[in-house]
Symmetry: C2
Subunit: 354 residues, 2 copies
Amino acid sequence: MSARTVKLAVIPGDGIGPEVVAEGLKVLSVVAPRHGLTLDTTEYELGAKRWHATGETLPDSVEEELRRHEAIFLGAVGDPTVPSGVLERGLLLRLRFNFSHYVNLRPVRLYPGVTTPLAGVAPEDVDMLVVREGTEGPYAGMGGVLRRGTPGEIATQDSVNTRFGVERVVRYAFAKAAERPRRKLTLVHKDNVLTYAGELWQRVVREVGAEYPQVEVDYLHVDAATMFFVTQPRRFDVVVTDNLFGDIITDLGAAVAGGIGLAASGNINPEADFPSMFEPVHGSAPDIAGQSKADPTATVLSAALMLDHLGYGDAAAQVERAVAEDLQARAKDGGTRSTVQIGDDIAQRVAEQG
Amino acid sequence: MSARTVKLAVIPGDGIGPEVVAEGLKVLSVVAPRHGLTLDTTEYELGAKRWHATGETLPDSVEEELRRHEAIFLGAVGDPTVPSGVLERGLLLRLRFNFSHYVNLRPVRLYPGVTTPLAGVAPEDVDMLVVREGTEGPYAGMGGVLRRGTPGEIATQDSVNTRFGVERVVRYAFAKAAERPRRKLTLVHKDNVLTYAGELWQRVVREVGAEYPQVEVDYLHVDAATMFFVTQPRRFDVVVTDNLFGDIITDLGAAVAGGIGLAASGNINPEADFPSMFEPVHGSAPDIAGQSKADPTATVLSAALMLDHLGYGDAAAQVERAVAEDLQARAKDGGTRSTVQIGDDIAQRVAEQG
Ligand SMILES: CC(C)[C@H](C(=O)O)[C@@H](O)C(=O)O
Ligand SMILES: CC(C)[C@H](C(=O)O)[C@@H](O)C(=O)O
């Protein structure tokens, strides 16, 4: 990749967000120049503090500024002092939706040396790529409340699934599956109950699948899928699923792969019409904030996903290698390092790779 | 309990359904007379065969007959030759909805001797009671399809949550939690995204909880809950949740507690305005049907839930004890018995208890 400057918006956010983002940026600052990449970063203070101070979650003008970046690097948003949903819907989901992050990419890999809660499961048994739809489904925010606070109250929540939205993410998932050695794609849904949405997903997978005869297609109900995640994780290669099911199974996947401290994600707009956004799967963890206790690995791996998205696959591989080495070493040292120390160690491993 | 005759409708269903139901009835036939209970059973052929022969899933006249029973004992329905959803919506969910089975009761217990996929987890770590709402939420079947088969297609799926429906199941869950030694209730939802429904569930739990100051109340997002199911199952005592989240976490719970072959459920109408229905959590498993390979334990434990619901708590405890003994013995014998053999052995253990 030739020398290039990328405008990167950084949203440290709340709780442990700023701590883990600092380590992600540290690793990026070591790896990027080695690959001719200059990151021109601008930090945005968004999250609980801003909301408390101004009542704003994401002012239009800030959204407009963010839009003029190539990528967004986010820590975590959310705090118990902010009503549930305010920052999630007003900031995080607003960015995912308005920037057409229709691919929420979440690798689930068990790195050697990492402890999984599952008995008898080895690293080679857990290597999946979950492609979660990111812009519709039950996350659309549609629905409402009638007769609130009365015995006749009704609250609805509507899952919206469009041919347009389902097809684009299914296409992405097939393309990914075709590139991987196992070439298997599993659709996860609940088509025996959610018959309208389920039939659309099934039909789109069938139709797009016809263009990928080399990809083996499987289907699992979401309930069965959670069971197989813990009893037969080997069963999965690429998984494609809707926004809510994807949220659920990727947290479970994170647990299986050694915990939320290691789970990376990319909110991707493959056409690059908008900046894609990279963030750890975990939240702001206010209980351990400010103590340098958080594991920055998920954020560092999210930075690797970002490098890959920006076209710096070699740089991404270098970061992943450094993380893999660090995790192996950790299995021996007992894991008592601080957030900063882990970031330093990974950065140094990258530097040593040259 | 005094001598009584209970009219029991039996729906063996498809696949392994008839095989496991036979063993459930076998155990019931041993335990019931010992407690003065006579079961007057009528079998109903409903499921794939009937649908293929007549196109019917549940004729109104049969529903009317079922309604005149005190309880329903069901094996499993579903077959790959029937389009997904036809039997689920047309038979199973229709019964749950029309008979107001608003409590879908699913104990998640790890019996001694049973292998869990989790490393380092002991029986005392897994003892929860999931109270899944059974008559609304995303299972309501509401929604539709617009412009099917065109690029502009939209499929919606609406979750319906009523104050009436949420409150009655939350009340049931609190009453159960108050009876248990740990007195803890965890609401599982996703209120930071599904804000309309989530706020209703939270508010109802808060209000009803005020009447149960002795019950500790916790809340978890469904994604986090799946993680804690595998990393800290101890965290859970009674769990109350909506229909879809309950479907997902109870399959995961079944996996954690040693597999779907052991997971029992009751679809309960606590007021007994309608017959309650008892069934294993597993499906019809057509791949192993007719080979006497299925584990009837889940069905036998569902029969125990039924005995308890009918007021025969001692009989239920007897069946559970026999199952617990059988599972312990199984840990030694390697587990190669047929469906019939397991049923025989459990029945014999009940008989030996006197
Ligand atoms: C914070 C929340 C809105 C978010 C989601 O539900 O998508 C999180 O759980 C995630 O998985 O990124
Ligand atoms: C068969 C299906 C409709 C059913 C459900 O989703 O409730 C099953 O998975 C269950 O958990 O009893």
